[in-house]
């Protein structure tokens, strides 16, 4: 069990470094548990404020409850929310039938690139965690993307003593990972401790629940009776199944996620 206070303090430190040292900053907000925790951490870091816009990359295939929930929370908290989809690709009928990885590339990676260009972001705050999968386990806290949004994971600069990468050429941007050091179970324990409101899709109904949220066609439910935070935490303490087992795009090729992320995927 990691010390939640320590996890929180480190995340707050990272968010404050990003806010001070990067120019235009935005935070990806996918409605899921990780980005919901990040929004909470931002309010901790900035004393009840969120001093940068949230970005939702809308593929149009999201589970419908996610969109309803998104709009409700954004209105309640008065969030500065940018919703962006890759309209050109959607107009030509892009969808999972074109191939899952093709679809992710167009509707997520490219859509994200469009947002970065449109708002000239220098920094994007992303809720990736090392324990999610292999390529994320290699991430730096401040991770550079070049002008084509690519990640050169074979040549990452040193990152030590919380001295993060804040110098980079114009046109590049930094992916900031404030919860890189958290585990899935830490996220849930923190949600429970803090009483953070969370979308209902994670809680079991009729013997099933979502463990990870994404697009409806590519996100499977798991068999589960866990209908409360306590039950989810107990379930995770006992499980040996990995978190993203229900995410179809990960299973396409052993290095699918690495390839997607190299090209700019979140």
């Amino acid at each position: 069990m990691q010390d939640l206070d320590f996890l929180e303090a480190q995340s707050v430190y990272i968010l404050r470094e990003a806010y001070k040292l990067l120019g235009r900053l935005g935070m990806l907000w996918s409605i899921g548990k990780d980005s919901t925790v990040m929004l909470w951490l931002a309010q901790k870091a900035f004393f009840g404020h969120c001093p940068f816009p949230l970005i939702h990359v809308d593929t149009s295939y999201k589970i419908p409850e996610m969109i309803t929930y998104r709009d409700k929370v954004a209105a309640e908290l008065g969030l500065d929310l940018i919703v962006h989809g890759n309209r050109e690709a959607l107009a030509t009928g892009m969808g999972p039938q074109a191939g899952r990885l093709e679809c992710c590339k167009a509707l997520k990676t490219e859509a994200l690139q469009q947002v970065v260009r449109k708002y000239a972001f220098d920094g994007l705050i992303v809720g990736a965690r090392r324990d999610e999968e292999g390529s994320r386990s290699k991430e730096r806290v401040f991770s550079e993307r070049n002008a084509a949004d690519e990640w050169d994971y074979t040549r990452q600069p040193p990152e030590l003593w919380d001295q993060f990468k804040t110098d980079f050429p114009k046109g590049h941007h930094i992916r900031v990972h404030p919860i890189l050091h958290w585990n899935e179970i830490d996220v849930w324990r923190y949600i429970r401790r803090e009483g953070i409101p969370i979308i209902g899709l994670y809680f079991a109904r009729d013997g099933e629940r979502y463990r990870s949220l994404g697009c409806a066609p590519c996100t499977g439910k798991i068999k589960s009776e866990a209908a409360s935070l306590d039950a989810i935490i107990a379930e995770l303490e006992a499980t040996t199944v990995s978190e993203r087992a229900g995410r179809a795009q990960d299973q396409e090729d052993p290095h699918a996620m690495q390839k997607l992320r190299k090209a700019g995927y979140m």
Partner: protein, 566 residues
């Protein structure tokens, strides 16, 4: 902080291919710490690429790593025993990826140094040990892996252990433990191996649980580097992380390097549930202070007792990871805690080859992967600590271009030897560099400066008005803008030292703190000049100097060969 203990951070280091990733993979496998299907998936990848299953693939997640059978970048993973939680950091052993090894090892509390039983101690075994020592890691255990390749031979094991211990001893280190091991066969992982009955020491898991966890420095001197100042609402909040010590609402504090004093009015929180009146090392906090000075990122808050060192010059052990060599005279951006400042490499005291510890006393540059003792200097006063006193304020990185190119730990404050001359009268103090000697070095084709032992002058003292590169009149004034002090010199003696605010232009030559003449002819001139300097930002300095200062009025730059005797 909360009840959960911080995980113990352990780095696994050693020469390329000696089996670091395999050792960790084996440990995860035998303790059933892997998610379901992971081993099957790795077996599938191995089959599809026509390779044998490798425990290392459990760590080396990148396609490039698996293809080449080499770890490129660090993996940090969490691991749990009955006793406690760990973060295990798998470092790459290839020389080319030393920068990644250092990134992983920098905040570790302990290290496993993996050595191949068949190949013995090799170049990176030593280099990694040297880095671990420089980074302040004192708990080191030797894992002599691949014992299966040498028929579990005790004599070979002992020879390797003793060889490595001798090297560690020359670094002032001692291994806590040494384990004969086989990642391939799983010997001495959880249970003592029947193939090595001669080994009476620990197994891997016992060695792990035997390590000592570092404690947070709550009891140490307060160090609170200012990260940012917020004014989102009516509150003005100074934000940052307590790096060491404890801070309470109501405490008297000093803000360095300026030295201003104030009191903590309250601690700031978002939610009332989180409110408290005491915060400790490791916490990210916000404070509201009684006096609203201009505060900025990089300042360091302490209590009045146990302040940090305030210095412009210090000695450090540095490691260099840059492609271009680090040379004497080079300038870098130094980042220490939340402060970023330009420093110049004043001196290189000897370069050490990190794999042999051979010392080259005459070397004047550090190449990739070298370590050395150097003197770094800054124009601005810095609040810092010796690494031995406070880790967070005693270590730094050096940035060249866009990337961190090196780092180091502070070993000595050199401010006394390096301090310039000064003027002092009661509380009033100013730095004085008007007696520095300049020359043009005809061999190196560069302008150089040299100094003598520093002196402090006060009222009545006679000044050495002529040197090799300067000749000052008997009557003049000196204004040291950065310290806001004015000095009157009459008949070659100091007759007055006053705050800048009280100074009035009186028609005599006015010099700055370096002996350059201000181009002023009247009181009105002087007022304008003073205002412009007071309002200047650092980047305006050259333009302002060009407008208001004349180097050659009392100074010259004579030719010289080699270093001058003063």
């Amino acid at each position: 902080m909360g009840k959960g203990a911080d995980p113990l951070k352990l780095v696994v280091a050693g020469h390329v291919d000696h089996g670091k990733s395999s050792v960790i993979g084996r440990l995860l496998h035998d303790t059933h710490s892997l998610p379901q299907g992971t081993v099957d998936r790795v077996k599938r990848i191995a089959r599809e690429t026509g390779k044998d299953f490798e425990f290392a693939y459990l760590l080396d997640a990148l396609e490039e790593e698996q293809k080449q059978g080499v770890t490129i970048d660090i993996t940090r993973l969490q691991f749990r025993t009955q006793k406690r939680e760990y973060i295990i950091i798998d470092a790459p052993g290839h020389k080319e990826f030393l920068k990644n090894m250092v990134s992983g090892a920098a905040d570790a509390e302990a290290a496993f140094l993996v050595i191949d039983a068949a190949r013995g101690v090799e170049e990176q075994s030593k280099r990694h040990a040297c880095m671990l020592s420089l980074l302040g890691i004192r708990q080191i255990c030797l894992i002599v892996n691949k014992m299966d390749l040498i028929a579990y031979d005790e004599a070979r094991f002992t020879a390797i252990k003793e060889g490595m211990n001798a090297f560690l001893a020359s670094l002032g280190l001692m291994a806590r433990d040494a384990i004969p091991f086989s990642a391939l066969r799983g010997d001495n992982v959880l249970e003592p191996s029947p193939l090595m009955p001669w080994h009476k020491g620990h197994t891997l898991i016992q060695t792990l649980d035997d390590l000592e966890a570092a404690r947070r420095p709550d009891q140490a001197a307060l160090r609170f580097p200012v990260q940012d100042v917020y004014k989102f609402d009516e509150r003005r909040i100074i934000a940052g992380r307590i790096e060491s010590g404890t801070l309470r609402a109501g405490d008297e504090i000093v803000i360095h390097p300026g030295g201003k004093k104030t009191r903590v009015r309250s601690l700031a929180f978002w939610r009332t549930e989180d409110e408290k009146t005491e915060v400790r090392a490791g916490e990210s906090v916000g404070i509201i202070v009684e006096d609203e000075f201009f505060n900025q990122r990089g300042e360091v808050i302490s209590h009045a007792e146990r302040p940090p060192l305030i210095t412009r010059s210090f000695r450090a052990s540095v490691f260099w990871l840059g492609k271009k060599p680090l040379r004497r005279g080079n300038r870098y951006k130094l980042k220490i805690a939340t402060r970023a400042v330009e420093v110049v490499v004043e001196e290189i005291f000897g370069v050490i080859d990190s794999s042999t510890l051979a010392l080259d006393n005459r070397a004047q540059e550090l190449s990739l992967n070298d370590v050395a003792e150097v003197e770094l200097g800054s124009q601005e006063a810095l609040a810092l600590d010796l690494f031995a006193d406070c880790r967070a304020l005693g270590r730094f990185v050096l940035v060249e271009g866009y990337d961190v190119a090196g780092g180091g730990v502070i070993t000595a404050d050199l401010s006394e030897e390096a301090a310039p001359d000064g003027f002092a009268h009661g509380e009033l103090k100013a730095r004085c560099e008007i007696f520095e000697e300049y020359h043009y070095n005809v061999k190196e084709k560069e302008i150089k400066k040299s100094r003598r032992a520093p002196e402090v002058y006060t009222l009545g003292d006679a000044l050495p008005l002529s040197g090799k590169s300067y000749a000052y009149p008997d009557f003049f004034d000196i204004v040291v803008m950065r310290d806001r002090i004015a000095v009157s010199v009459r008949e070659g003696k100091v007759t007055d030292i006053i705050p800048l605010e009280e100074y009035r232009y009186g028609g005599l030559p006015v010099l700055n703190g370096r002996g350059f003449a201000f181009l002023v002819r009247s009181g009105a001139d002087w007022e304008r000049c003073r205002e412009e300097f007071t309002d200047a930002r650092p980047k305006d300095e050259a333009a302002l100097s060009a407008r208001w200062l004349h180097f050659g009025a009392f100074r010259s730059i004579p030719f010289a060969d080699g270093d001058w005797e003063i």
